[in-house]
């Protein structure tokens, strides 16, 4: 039964999206908070990430967008006096906070109970040594190995484990600091790295189980020890590749019941041994394919990326149930949401197969080793469901949106690679290994050989071989083939998930995907939609959570209500992430409220949008024209929303329109117009709005001409991409060719845009709403960094603090003119540059922008929600949105970068976006807000100690100002010779250190030794990056805040000054809005 002795529950979220801890925690957290609130508890939520649905003020009772630090949480606990804390839905961050607050006595002091996981369970699961001891005490098998605090201890352990040995950093999330060591001379470096990455200075060594089969069980337990396995997951990639980087399959395919039940029993024993009393957990196993020997690898006593996947794969909402069992319910007291007649105490049975494929972003990080290993590197994932493994696999590939629609890595505009695969090309796990394996099968390599070098189970390879056979039959089909035979073949191909676009390339007689579609319709080969029902059809499903197949019976049962289809953003990637999912969810909420039936369409298992609870109906399908049109044929919605899911649905807009589908809101034509540089320049000219000199090019020759005409430096970028993909700042003609080539590769056959780069300009983002008659500015945000840094990576302040009222008014005016001229109905975002008192328009995007959630939370104007209503026909006047909302205090958005997870990458910011997430800091004082944003981003500013300054000549006078301020604040100064000379000349005490590039390790040693608390390093220019690279690398490795622009340095000074004067205060959004 539900506990009545607790009333207020504190729930920490997981903070910014980073590799290894991403949008899945918004999904889990939102579910948990909603469930607790529905039970009548008062929920206090803390999460620094404004792009989440969970931080919407309607979700929790008190919403704190504040840093997830023990200090902030203590202050919030003192204010809100919660009775309990649920730390298991906020990822590793949530657990770490629970540990910290227990250990420093805060929970005890304020009488806060931990629910969902107790301290000893968290420790037993998280501390590898303790975990291992616990397992061994309970006769649960684990790999050989142990903990080391020094290289000597490590050497002793290696005597037992042998090489290769896995070295990990204890307590680090996402596998940070982990590596494989193959021989003794690599050991020392690996151990040092692991010890430095581990918050407790512990390296963990483990016997190699490389190449073993890897399984995960997602399990739930309640206080009566009722235990269920929600889902079994088999990794296609064997042990050795982080499970977040592995292609995974559910349910497990290659276990006998004897073997599976051993895993199940062990999982139950692991939970009991660790002491998980209630909640969801994940237990990972390695199984030796030759002997069946099983070892437990690890367990997470909390919801996880895998549990989000398992929830989507089965329809069993793990996070919601974890919250309910944490407050005292038992599983038999909770109804199964999907069947509405059975209980949550059961184990889902799947009559379909689920495949998840990760998505990486290596193209944005040249220099990073793309080999997959124990440290997770992917930034997102796509999931697909099919009645069989081949169908799910093909659909998962189509869902990835990497221009590929086939298992051989070919695509509509991507040629098939013809280079032969060899055993050695398959051995190294890389992002494209799946495709290589398939091509190797096609070349006739034996399945056993491939299995041997890849560790892929031969069962999966045999399935691919079957796909290969069908592919061959299609290739060999000629125009003489009988209709009946063709029908059988096509039906078989569709049942295996082959895309129409792929079939069009295979069948010699057909040319376009549309031809294939028409032929299919003619032959009556039509998709059916099946329900994800948790029970393999044993009970009727009351919840329309659907996937497509080519079976006998359609179960979609569309209604005849007025309905709107919302297209989501697909797999998360840099530049298109949770912000867009947030907007899609808002659209669903708003349109449901208006009385429409909402249909969500997406293929990303990490998201809130793909919770079957978010919209009225959910289609979990690839975001390709073929699949979207299939759903539209079935549902016949009155319109489709393509403007909220980022670039993905926009890319489908033209095809949808051509098929006669009504696009709601701003017309795709207007969106196209704003992307088309020539048309757009014409429009700006007509409106008499200035823009930087620019031109477009389709070849290197043209690019040279344009650049010469407008003068270097120039910004180069491809069109129709998000996140500044392949966007670059080019200083001189010598560097042009390389960047143009990259731009052509990023967006083939699209014009390349070349803009005059406005040095020293300030950039301003405006988010606005328009209904065709009226344009209302929602928020104006100023970038803290100077122009040249992608808006997604720049820190941003709302309201602007350095722009005059006069210029703001001009920006408002331009926004209005543009909104009306483009006929915007819904959201729009305008980017301005302010230089020499002139306001220029850089870009207009008449669609949801990345800043919408952040701006909405700062202004208390839910822009995406309003925009969706406008798109469905309401006017802004009807919605009572007619004036720009006032903002009290400062809201600062800071980006969070993945450099630490991707060693080898350059850490300088530029025009190509590379951040994975964002945080927000808010306060009535700019300095306080900035300080919070930095702390929330993971690198709090120091309030004392030493700083290292190394600035280029151009920045020297401003650098001096910074040095003087920091000296006044009592910081000790270190500087490289040039900078030190200048500081010294100004009469300030400074210690000179040798430059790294002169072969000296002095700086790096200082940083490593913890003598430096803050680094200011401004690059010499976009192409002289190597200079400070060593310094930046060391700072990142040691978690020392690193400032790379002078404007952030100025903001940092202001922040440190503010903290000195007055302590930070924490305020819920609800209190902020109501002015209390």
């Amino acid at each position: 039964m539900k506990r009545t002795d607790i009333h207020t529950i504190l729930v920490p979220g997981s903070g910014a999206i980073v590799i290894g801890q991403a949008a899945e925690f918004d999904y889990s957290g939102t579910q948990a908070v909603k469930a607790l609130k529905a039970e009548g508890y008062r929920v206090v939520l803390v999460n620094s990430n404004p792009a989440t649905i969970m931080t919407d003020p309607e979700i929790a009772d008190a919403t704190y967008i504040e840093p997830l630090t023990p200090e902030a949480l203590e202050a919030i606990i003192a204010q809100e006096k919660p009775d309990a804390m649920l730390p298991t839905v906020g990822g590793q961050t949530g657990l770490n906070l629970a540990l910290a607050l227990s250990e420093n006595g805060v929970l005890e002091k304020y009488g806060v109970q931990l629910i969902g996981a107790n301290l000893s369970a968290i420790k037993a699961a998280e501390d590898r040594m303790l975990f291992r001891e616990t397992m061994q005490k309970n006769n649960i098998p684990v790999p050989r190995g142990g903990a080391a605090y020094s290289i000597e201890e490590a050497r002793e352990l290696v005597k037992e484990t042998g090489y290769p040995v896995l070295v990990r950093a204890s307590f680090a999330m996402g596998g940070t600091g982990a590596s494989w060591v193959y021989e003794s001379n690599q050991l020392e470096e690996a151990i040092r790295k692991a010890i430095s990455e581990s918050p407790i200075g512990q390296a963990w060594l483990e016997e190699s189980v490389l190449g073993w089969k890897e399984y995960e069980l997602e399990v739930m337990r309640d206080k009566k020890n009722n235990f269920v396995v929600v889902c079994s997951i088999e990794n296609l990639d064997p042990m050795g590749v982080h499970t977040g980087d592995s292609i995974t399959v559910a349910p497990a395919q290659t276990l006998t019941d004897r073997e599976y039940q051993i895993l199940r029993d062990l999982a139950h024993q692991v939970l009991s041994a660790v002491g998980v009393e209630t909640g969801g957990s994940n237990v990972q196993f390695g199984v030796d394919p030759k002997t069946g020997r099983v070892v437990v690898i690890e367990m997470n006593p909390r919801v996880s990326r895998s549990s989000a996947l398992a929830s989507k794969a089965t329809g069993f909402p793990i996070a919601k149930l974890a919250a309910l069992v944490a407050v005292g319910y038992t599983l038999d007291e909770i109804t199964n949401d999907i069947t509405k007649q059975t209980k949550a105490a059961f184990e889902p049975s799947l009559d379909y197969v689920v495949v998840k494929i990760p998505r990486w972003a290596f193209e944005k990080f040249p220099g990073v080793d793309p080999t997959l290993g124990p440290q997770m590197k992917s930034v997102g994932e796509a999931m697909a469901l099919g009645r069989t493994f081949p169908e799910a696999l093909n659909k998962a590939i189509q869902s990835l949106e990497i221009g590929v629609d086939a298992l051989d890595a070919s695509g509509p505009s991507r040629e098939l690679l013809t280079e032969p695969e060899t055993l050695s090309s398959l051995t190294i796990p890389r992002a494209d290994r799946l495709f290589r394996v398939y091509r190797a099968i096609r070349q006739g390599m034996s399945l056993d050989e491939i299995a041997n070098v890849t560790g892929y189970d031969v069962w999966f390879l045999a399935q691919m071989k079957e796909m290969q056979n069908v592919e061959l039959r299609m290739q060999n089909a000629d125009s003489k083939m009988q209709k009946a035979e063709l029908k059988t073949l096509l039906h078989e191909a569709k049942q295996m998930g082959f895309a129409d676009s792929h079939i069009a390339r295979l069948l010699s007689t057909f040319h376009s995907p549309l031809d294939v579609r028409n032929l299919r319709k003619e032959l009556n080969i039509l998709p059916t939609f099946q329900r994800v029902d948790t029970c393999a059809a044993e009970f009727e499903s009351q919840t329309p959570y659907l996937y497509s197949a080519y079976e006998m019976e359609d179960e979609s049962r569309p209604t005849d209500k007025q309905k709107i289809l919302i297209l989501g953003g697909g797999p998360n990637r840099i530049g298109q992430g949770i912000e867009f999912d947030y907007c899609c969810c808002q659209a669903a909420f708003a349109l449901s409220r208006m009385g429409y039936e909402t249909i969500m369409y997406n293929c990303n298992p990490e998201t809130v949008s793909t919770d079957y609870d978010t919209a009225d109906r959910l289609y979990f399908e690839p975001l390709t024209l073929e699949h979207v049109l299939n759903v539209i044929d079935k549902e016949n919605p009155i319109g489709v929303i393509v403007q909220f899911g980022g670039q993905t649905p926009l890319n489908l807009a033209a095809g949808l329109e051509a098929a006669g589908v009504k696009i709601l809101g701003t017309s795709p034509h207007a969106i196209q117009l704003s992307e088309d540089r020539e048309e757009f320049a014409k429009l700006l000219k007509e409106l008499d709005i200035p823009q930087p000199e620019n031109g477009i090019a389709r070849s290197l020759e043209e690019a040279r001409e344009v650049a010469q005409r407008i003068g270097y430096p120039v910004l180069v970028r491809p069109s129709f991409v998000l996140g500044g993909r392949a966007m670059a700042l080019v200083e001189s003609e010598a560097h042009l060719a390389g960047f143009i080539q990259q731009a052509i590769e990023a967006a083939p056959n699209q014009p390349i845009l070349i803009d005059k780069f406005m040095e020293d300009a300030f950039e301003v983002d405006v988010d606005a709403l328009a209904d065709g008659e009226r344009v209302v500015v929602g928020a104006i945000m100023e970038h803290i960094e100077e122009a040249g840094i992608h808006s997604g990576d720049a820190a941003c302040v709302l309201p602007p603090y350095k722009v005059s009222a006069y210029h703001l008014e001009i920006m408002r005016e331009y926004t209005k003119q543009l909104g009306l001229a483009l006929g915007v109905r819904g959201l729009m975002n305008v980017q301005f540059a302010l230089k020499d008192e002139i306001v220029c328009v850089l870009e207009v995007n008449p669609r949801a922008s990345r800043t919408v959630p952040y701006a909405s939370k700062a202004t208390n104007l839910n822009m995406a929600y309003v925009a969706a209503q406008v798109m469905a026909g309401k006017t802004l006047k009807e919605l009572n949105v007619t004036a720009q909302p006032k903002v009290d205090g400062f809201f600062i958005k800071e980006s969070v970068l993945p450099f630490k997870k991707l060693p080898g990458s350059s850490s300088l910011l530029g025009p190509e976006m590379r951040s994975t997430g964002e945080v927000m800091g808010h306060a009535s004082h700019f300095g306080h807000a900035f300080a919070k944003s930095q702390t929330a981003a993971g690198l709090g500013l120091p309030d004392e100690g030493a700083i290292l300054i190394t600035v280029n000549d151009y920045d020297k006078s401003d650098g001096l100002k910074f040095a003087r301020e920091m000296h006044r604040l009592g910081f000790q100064l270190y500087a490289t010779p040039g900078t030190a000379f200048m500081i010294n000349k100004a009469g300030l005490p400074v210690e000179t250190v040798e430059k790294a590039q002169d072969g000296s390790t002095q700086i790096v040693d200082l940083i490593r030794a913890g003598k430096i608390q803050l680094v200011l390093n401004t690059p010499l220019g976009p192409h002289a990056h190597s200079d400070g690279a060593e310094i930046r690398k060391a700072a990142i490795a040691m978690n020392i805040p690193l400032l790379t622009t002078l404007s952030t340095a100025t903001a940092a000074v202001s922040a440190i000054q503010a903290i000195r004067k007055k302590e930070l205060k924490y305020k819920s959004l609800q209190n902020h809005y109501s002015g209390t």
Binding site: R258, R264, A345, L350
Partner: protein, 378 residues
């Protein structure tokens, strides 16, 4: 080769043939277990039935010598969505298709099993016929319709042993272990258990043996007097296929055994026989319970066990005398009766399968309960 499956309602389904080339008539049931097709195929309770597997891929792990529940496939046919072209398991000895062919069992793949499951769920279990040798659909329909079916048929005589025998542990025994805290019962051992074979699953025998029982398996028609004359410490009543109403002689024997005060433990049919011996009726469920994910609740403390189940009939709870019988388990899915215990006699039974092969091991301790009961009665 094409296979044709015809249901008594006239539905005709074509697919790919595998296993043996022959015809078969049977009752079609579905099973939602995601693992353990081999154990299901060799489960004597499926005698006379064709099993439709809801899980997408079948045959993945081939056939493993240790995983049999009886010496041969007992099902009449297998109906599946996708047959694995490849066997992948470190223990596997041969492929599913070859094994079925060897035992003359026909099977069909490429069937929309989800659609067919929904049909069976909504319309109830159906008689059906399958041909993998080209018999026409009309012929098959006639065969299905003319077949007398399983209701009231004594399938037991087809699956019970011909004469009594001593159970000797087989290769599968190493997979079965009593719970740690039961070591004492095992050591005090030498339990003499008589097991009625109405179609007994071998994993039940392995479990009884793992607690130290010396088991004599006796044919279904063995009388109570014959059993009692062997002076057993306990009597076990096995699972089996079909309708419990067709076994009046067994009910009669069970009634006597109950009154003998020798501990009696029944599983599945054994449970239904005890129910009938106690005066309750049994009724047919619409589509039965067939899977490895069935939650049952132990009523005395509310604990939930995930169990393997395979039955079409159920003891009618309302018929039991509450002064005499305690209802111990109920199904969380449909509240049907899943277990009972006599208040003043050492008799108890469960509808589900604690030996669970395939299926979760949550209910293993029920075997321990039997041994504790025998211990108390000694």
């Amino acid at each position: 080769m094409t296979a044709t499956l015809v249901l008594e309602d006239g539905t005709i389904i074509e697919g790919k043939a595998f296993g043996a080339e022959t015809d078969a008539v049977f009752e079609l049931v579905f099973n939602t277990s995601m693992t353990g097709y081999q154990e299901i195929l060799t489960d004597p309770s499926y005698r006379g039935q064709g099993v439709l597997f809801t899980v997408s891929h079948i045959g993945n792990v081939g056939i493993n010598l240790e995983d049999d529940e009886s010496a041969k496939p007992q099902i009449s046919v297998a109906v599946i969505r996708s047959l694995s072209p490849q066997v992948s398991n470190w223990r596997s000895a041969l492929s599913l298709s070859d094994w079925l062919a060897k035992h003359n069992v026909p099977a069909i793949s490429g069937v929309d099993t989800r659609w067919l499951t929904r049909k069976l769920r909504d319309g109830g279990t159906q008689k059906a016929a399958l041909s993998t040798k080209g018999t026409s659909a009309e012929m098959l329909l006639n065969m299905a319709r003319e077949w007398e079916g399983l209701d009231g048929r004594d399938v037991v005589k087809e699956v019970t042993c011909e004469e009594s025998y001593r159970w000797v542990n087989d290769e599968g025994f190493k997979w079965v272990k009593p719970l740690n805290n039961e070591q004492l019962l095992v050591e005090s051992g030498n339990w003499k258990v008589i097991a009625y074979d109405f179609g007994i699953k071998e994993n039940i025998l392995r479990h009884l043996s793992s607690y130290g029982a010396n088991i004599t398996v006796v044919p279904a028609d063995t009388t109570a007097d014959e059993v009692l004359s062997l002076k057993p410490d306990g009597i076990f009543l096995s699972n089996r296929p079909g309708d419990p109403a067709g076994l009046p002689y067994a009910v009669e024997a069970v009634e006597k055994l109950i009154n003998s005060n020798v501990p009696v433990f029944g599983i599945c049919l054994g449970h239904q026989l005890i129910g009938r011996a106690l005066g309750a009726d049994t009724h047919k469920l619409k589509f039965g319970h067939h899977g490895g994910n069935h939650p049952v609740q132990y009523l005395p403390n509310g604990e939930v066990l995930i169990t393997a189940q395979n039955h079409n009939y159920c003891v009618t709870a309302g018929d039991l005398n509450p002064d005499e019988v305690e209802i111990t388990y109920k199904s969380l899915n449909d509240d049907s009766l899943e277990g009972l215990r006599m208040k003043n006699k050492p008799v108890f039974s469960v509808q589900f399968h604690p030996e669970a092969a395939p299926g979760p091991h949550d209910a293993h301790d029920i075997f321990g309960e039997f041994f504790r009961m025998m211990n108390n009665s000694r």
